[in-house]
């Protein structure tokens, strides 16, 4: 027995810092700090009851917001589910190209609004009756927002369908017709994903004002933003926002479970193509058609409105600085969001008690409209010792990170749930050093989830214009803000050119991401048997 060999073991607690404990604790604390920071600027104590007690008119506006958000969430989730079914039934199933529709996810919603408006205007050149077609109001908002959110809903439905246990699904297909299996087994099992999609669209719609403002549909958030622009103090604005924030917070509590169940698909085989019949086949083809229109229509309309390659090139030259600023800001936002959400995700997954409450707090930023949080952040920073930060690109990046960190958190938590626990435990057990397992095993296995968490904030930040309008330092603009500002000049050719450049930029980013995160080398062990 070699007792001198034994002596190097049983050394005791082990020297050095345990990164797998420290980083999550620091990140979770910073997450909460960042989350609360905008509240420092709200000055809620100075708000009076008049600010948050709704007048009949304001009640009507709030109802408009709820109605718009609910209807477009329902429409886009339904269409998205059918589109996902069509993809699973087509040759695209199993191909990386099946995610091509994601190129339009980061586009600002108002770009869809513009494409529809320009499209109707262009067609009305040939049919004057169409010129009087009212592209205003609730119906127009629903159409545009449904199309804008359709790729997101399709992706989430497809994630759910590809997530299913392959062997269980195959057993069902051996027993019954494909349509029946989809109806009785796949759709019920993917319900959490579709509910999560509904929830996300509702949240994004009710906290957006760009589409309602373009189509002149009065909503509560528009009212809040109008008050702010009229020079109302933060206490009044914050007080006004309480009913909206409270409502969305309650909604979050209802869908929290579905959001938490959301999981990114793992690297397993996507399974056989479905062979759908009857009503499912028709509905899925309609869903796919809508998805195709959603991708092709803005491109075609903007090309027609821009009129020439020269205009598109001039637009690119005019917007290239903003293009670089957008990329820089969104990359920073992605990194900040990743760091904050990593710690918080680990903290939340380790909780055994009061999980619902902790998750509700972590998801709270989703209840606060982006521009409102930006206003609070600006107010908090102005006049403080760190006021200098408002003159840097980091400031809007922080605002974006605060807004979208909950999405990164959900994605990262799902990635952490997916990793092979046994492999992580084995790493901790066999590691020759305190933190080696953390860096080389745990973080390496989490890399795809971390990349997805980074990407979701970065891509959503690229299309965000409300926060950018409030927080960008003087002399800097993002692409989204520049396009929005040019709307007021009415230069439709240039706006079309800008929009095409934006679409190309975000499309390139998505394509790069898809290429970088192509099917990783992580098939289940034993698949080669």
């Amino acid at each position: 027995m070699n007792s001198s060999n034994d002596s190097k073991w049983y050394r005791g607690k082990g020297a050095g810092w345990n990164l797998s404990r420290i980083l999550p604790a620091v990140g979770a604390a910073l997450y909460v700090l960042f989350l609360l920071f905008p509240f420092a600027g709200f000055n809620l104590s100075a708000a009076s009851a008049d600010d948050w007690i709704l007048s009949p008119r304001q009640t009507g506006l709030l109802w408009n917001s709820i109605l718009l958000a609910s209807l477009c969430a329902l429409a886009s989730c339904t269409a998205g589910t059918f589109a996902a079914m069509a993809i699973r039934s087509s040759r695209l199933s199993g191909s990386p190209l099946r995610w091509i529709f994601l190129v339009t996810v980061p586009l600002p919603y108002y770009i869809y609004a513009l494409s529809w408006m320009y499209g109707i205007r262009w067609v009305s050149q040939f049919n004057r009756d169409l010129a009087s077609f009212g592209y205003r109001g609730l119906a127009a908002c629903i159409v545009v927002e449904t199309m804008a959110f359709l790729p997101l809903c399709t992706a989430m439905a497809l994630f759910g369908m590809e997530q299913q246990n392959r062997k269980e699904e195959e057993m069902a297909f051996l027993c019954q017709d494909d349509s029946l299996v989809v109806r009785r087994i796949v759709l019920p099992r993917t319900r959490p994903y579709r509910m999560a999609a509904f929830g996300c669209v509702f949240l994004l719609s009710i906290t957006d004002y760009s589409v309602p403002s373009l189509f002149q549909f009065p909503t509560y958030l528009l009212e809040i933003f109008s008050e702010y622009n009229r020079g109302a103090d933060m206490a009044h604005v914050a007080g006004m926002s309480l009913p909206l924030v409270g409502l969305v917070f309650l909604f979050l509590a209802l869908i929290q479970g579905n959001l938490r169940q959301f999981t990114l698909p793992g690297p397993q085989d996507t399974g056989r193509r479905w062979h759908l019949g009857g009503i499912f086949r028709i509905a899925s083809l309609l869903g796919l058609l809508l998805l195709a229109i959603q991708m092709i229509l803005p491109t075609v309309i903007f090309l027609l409105t821009a009129g020439s390659i020269r205009v598109i090139w001039d637009s690119f030259l005019l917007i290239r600085r903003e293009f670089l600023v957008s990329i820089e800001m969104s990359l920073l936002a992605g990194l900040i969001s990743l760091f904050l959400s990593f710690g918080m995700a680990k903290f939340l997954l380790e909780r055994k008690r009061f999980r619902f409450l902790f998750w509700q707090i972590a998801l709270f930023p989703l209840a606060i409209p982006g521009p409102l949080a930006a206003m609070g952040l600006l107010s908090a920073v102005n006049g403080s010792p760190i006021h200098w930060i408002s003159q840097t690109i980091v400031f809007p990046a922080i605002g974006m990170a605060i807004r979208y960190a909950p999405f990164s958190l959900l994605v990262l938590a799902s990635g952490m749930r997916r990793i092979d626990r046994a492999a992580v435990e084995m790493g901790r057990l066999l590691s020759p050093g305190k933190n080696k397992a953390f860096w080389r095993i745990e973080l390496a296995m989490l890399a795809p989830g971390m990349a997805a968490a980074f990407a979701i904030t970065a891509l959503l930040s690229m299309g965000e214009e409300g926060i950018g309008l409030v927080l960008m330092p003087a002399g800097l603009e993002t692409m989204a803000v520049k396009v929005y500002n040019y709307l007021h000049y009415g230069a439709s050719e240039l706006i079309s050119g800008f929009s095409l450049v934006t679409m190309a930029g975000t499309g390139g980013a998505i394509a790069l991401l898809l290429w970088l995160t192509k099917r990783r080398k992580g098939k289940n062990n034993g698949d080669s048997d």
């Binding site: 607690k13 435990e425 057990l429 590691s431 890399a447 080398k521 062990n525 698949d527």
Partner: protein, 215 residues
């Protein structure tokens, strides 16, 4: 002779099940003990408690005479383990998996030792392959090589030879008997007691959370 593993009235309870109930166990240094029992009898849970992957509700666990707390790092306990599933790291090659836990060697020495272990287990051709490119039986042998590569004095095996064909089982058992019997402390969980012949000196049986010495 010094005690390597000692469990004193160790218990572990989950909401619906009580897999380990007041277990007493003493394994001396250099001894190899087999634990058998039905599925769900608590064998794997006991091993996990000893490894520190879970904390007992009550009782104490001593390794080489020292009691270990729940928060102390796992890698200091001097334990290597083979799970029921291979638990290989898919982003690393087989060679990297085996070398990961080695200490006190430079890169060249690690590689030589890893190849030596792989040759003993007839998996030397898998050096550059990834875990998803090998079969379940091969993955099991890689996980065995990985645990043995750490050269830790206590080895915990949780059904290490499942999914292996007869010839591979023979290689693995011969390897363990030749390299680790009497020099390392072994706790070996199995359904098949016959495979522990020639390796294990004592035999325990786990039944509904209770451990009884049979030999």
């Amino acid at each position: 002779m010094e005690t390597a593993i000692e469990c004193r009235q160790v218990s572990k309870r989950y909401p619906d099940v009580f897999p380990v109930q007041s277990v007493d166990l003493i394994v001396r240094k250099g001894e190899a003990a087999a634990i058998s029992g039905e599925s769900g009898s608590g064998k794997s849970t006991l091993l996990r408690l000893i490894a520190g992957l879970e904390s007992p509700q009550s009782g104490q666990i001593f390794l080489m005479g020292r009691e270990w707390g729940a928060r102390e790092p796992l890698f200091c306990r001097g334990i290597a383990m083979v799970f029921q599933e291979p638990a290989l790291w898919n982003h690393m090659t087989v060679g990297q998996n085996i070398m990961f836990g080695m200490q006190g060697k430079n890169k060249k020495q690690k590689k030589e030792f890893a190849i030596h272990l792989m040759e003993q287990l007839c998996i030397e051709t898998l050096w550059r392959r990834y875990p998803y490119e090998i079969s379940g039986g091969q993955a099991k042998r890689v996980s065995l090589a990985r645990a043995c590569g750490t050269e830790r004095p206590i080895l915990l095996f949780d059904e290490p030879l499942t999914n292996l064909d007869e010839e591979s089982k023979e290689y693995a058992l011969t390897f363990l008997k030749r390299e680790y019997k009497n020099t390392h402390t072994i706790l070996y969980v199995t359904h098949t007691l016959e495979e522990t012949e020639g390796l294990c000196d004592s035999w325990y049986e786990m039944n509904q959370g209770n451990l009884t010495r049979r030999r």
